[in-house]
């Protein structure tokens, strides 16, 4: 548990489902050294393609008491990844130094067994390269010394307009990601399979404003007049039923 485990923490309370993380991911990883993330028939009737990250939408509850949950889904970089031991060639591996689960595209034989072994459906075969692909946490970005330090983050994290995606070392208790998991009820997907996903999700929260009486008056009350306004008589006209002409 002391080694590094990089991960994403995704705040479902903040995600608006804009797909900026999807397009930025596709953009960055399509141009990478590992070759394109191919699309088939992209402008035709039946477009399909390989993506590392997809935003899905769910409706929770029964009309009219429903809630829309936008749910970005990518490889969770499990701490005990079931996809890695089943790989017959060793193309799928989990890096010891930072816990990222990667596929060596030059070793992959495209047998698809690892995708069967992933309960989350995080792996997709590239129809053109015929090898298995999945989120790399932008491993070709996050260590790039040529980039300014603030940009050494996965493309999806930088693209998110609502900052719904946090990136960090979840084994470092002081990291933003760890703190968010700890303090905002971060949870893992499908905990029943013991995969211990590194990526966590922050739950939807009830957002309501509670007003206390002292918030209706200014704290310092500089002129000592707050709360002292004369009230209009019941039969007199009033602007807002509180202040008098």
């Amino acid at each position: 548990m002391t080694t590094k485990q990089l991960a994403l923490v995704i705040d479902l309370n903040v995600c608006v489902g804009c797909h900026a993380c999807v397009t930025s991911c596709k953009g960055w990883n399509n141009d990478g050294a590992a070759g394109p993330l191919s699309d088939q028939n992209p402008y035709g009737a039946d477009p399909t393609g390989t993506f590392f990250n997809r935003v899905q939408t769910f409706e929770v509850g029964e009309f009219p008491n429903t809630e829309t949950v936008h749910f970005p889904k990518s490889c969770l970089h499990c701490e005990d990844p079931p996809c890695v031991p089943v790989c017959p060639t060793g193309a799928s591996y989990k890096r010891a130094e930072d816990g990222i689960v990667l596929v060596d595209y030059d070793k992959c034989i495209g047998c698809k067994y690892c995708s069967w072994a992933c309960p989350y459906g995080a792996r997709e075969v590239d129809q053109e390269q015929k090898v298995m692909k999945k989120c790399t946490l932008c491993v070709d970005r996050i260590y790039d010394p040529k980039l300014p330090e603030a940009e050494r983050k996965p493309a999806c994290v930088l693209a998110c307009p609502t900052s719904a995606r946090l990136f960090g070392d979840i084994h470092d208790p002081a990291s933003d990601a760890s703190r968010a998991i700890r303090e905002q009820g971060g949870y893992a997907l499908m905990p029943e399979w013991g995969t211990h996903p590194a990526n966590h999700y922050l739950p939807r929260r009830k957002t309501e404003k509670r007003l206390h009486p002292d918030e209706l008056e200014r704290h310092d009350n500089p002129l000592k007049v707050d709360g002292l306004l004369p009230r209009p008589a019941p039969d007199e006209p009033a602007l807002d039923d509180v202040t008098s002409w």
Binding site: G49, Q56, P82, V86, P88, I109, C118, G121, Y187, M190
Partner: protein, 303 residues
């Protein structure tokens, strides 16, 4: 899961090949038969195993790299299968050649038995080792791969014997009926078990929202993806039910009737094998089609 023809052919063909070898060596151990049967028998077993091996290559996106798949035998049952299958084929070849040359065969045959059984375990464990494919996660998966393979191999051995060494046809038929009945019981047990399964994963655990009613609105792509192609068979319920009936009828009852007809001729017993093999294809198709992968929870609605 989508049944892939390459895998259906691989698992049924090598199962029959293993069963055929086990049947032939069993006859040898009991002092029956001779090289007139064992040499062509070994060739037939090799043909079945080789055809299965060839079929498996069609499952790979990059077949030219298939040699790499022997690397991770410490952790991967698929890697172990990739090692054991050619080793078994080599031993079957050596056993057949030894019979041809009149060399001692017992040690080779014993090694073949060990490898055949190991191959059944490897093939079964490829499926049984995945914890969240609950339909496959049972010892019955391995037992049924072994029993169904052995049963079809014994039927093939009976047909071969009727052609090449008539006195052995009758004992092979008896053995095929006994092992076939056992295999049928095992498969029925697996079917019964799987109809009672409750999926452990639900949409609530899949997205972590604790609400009994969650409906997917969009899956993030409108034209489908690898996830919608690989994990759904997309056949109507009637077709799945028809395959289930085909499996229930063809895996044992119909071939058993042919075997019980009392005609120990090669065409009749060969027909029994072909019928049983068709049943095994249906059985393996259904094996994949009935397995519900938890990732499907994320791919319920297009838009």
């Amino acid at each position: 899961m989508r049944p892939a023809w390459s895998v259906l052919l691989l698992t049924t063909l090598i199962g029959a090949g293993q069963g055929l070898f086990l049947a032939l060596f069993g006859a040898e151990v009991f002092g029956m038969g001779g090289s007139t049967l064992f040499v062509p028998g070994a060739a037939a077993a090799l043909a079945l195993l080789g055809a299965g091996l060839v079929a498996s290559f069609f499952h790979l996106g990059r077949p030219e790299r298939a040699w790499r798949s022997a690397a991770k035998w410490r952790t991967s049952w698929l890697s172990r299968e990739v090692i054991v299958l050619p080793a078994f084929m080599a031993v079957v070849l050596a056993w057949g050649v030894a019979h041809k040359l009149g060399e001692p065969t017992l040690a080779l045959g014993t090694a073949g038995v060990v490898l055949a059984l190991a191959l059944f375990v490897c093939t079964g464990m490829i499926y049984a080792c995945l914890p969240f494919l609950q339909e496959w996660r049972t010892p019955l998966t391995i037992v049924n791969f072994a029993l169904l393979g052995s049963a079809s191999g014994l039927t093939a051995a009976a047909a071969l014997a009727a052609w090449l060494h008539a006195p052995l046809a009758r004992p092979f038929v008896a053995a095929a009926l006994a092992v076939g009945a056992l295999a049928y019981l095992g498969r029925l047990a697996a079917l019964a078990r799987n109809t009672r399964l409750r999926p452990k994963s639900t949409l609530a655990t899949a997205i972590g929202v604790k609400h009994p009613r969650i409906v997917q609105i969009a899956q993030g792509a409108m034209g489908g993806s690898f996830n919608t192609r690989e994990f759904f068979h997309r056949r109507p319920r009637e077709a799945v039910r028809a395959v289930r009936w085909a499996l229930l009828v063809l895996v044992f009852p119909v071939p058993a009737l042919v075997l019980l007809s009392g005609k120990y001729s090669a065409p009749v017993l060969g027909a029994a094998f072909i019928l049983q093999y068709a049943g095994l294809l249906a059985e393996r198709w259904y094996f994949f089609a009935e397995a519900k992968h938890p990732q499907n929870l994320y791919y319920q609605a297009i838009a």
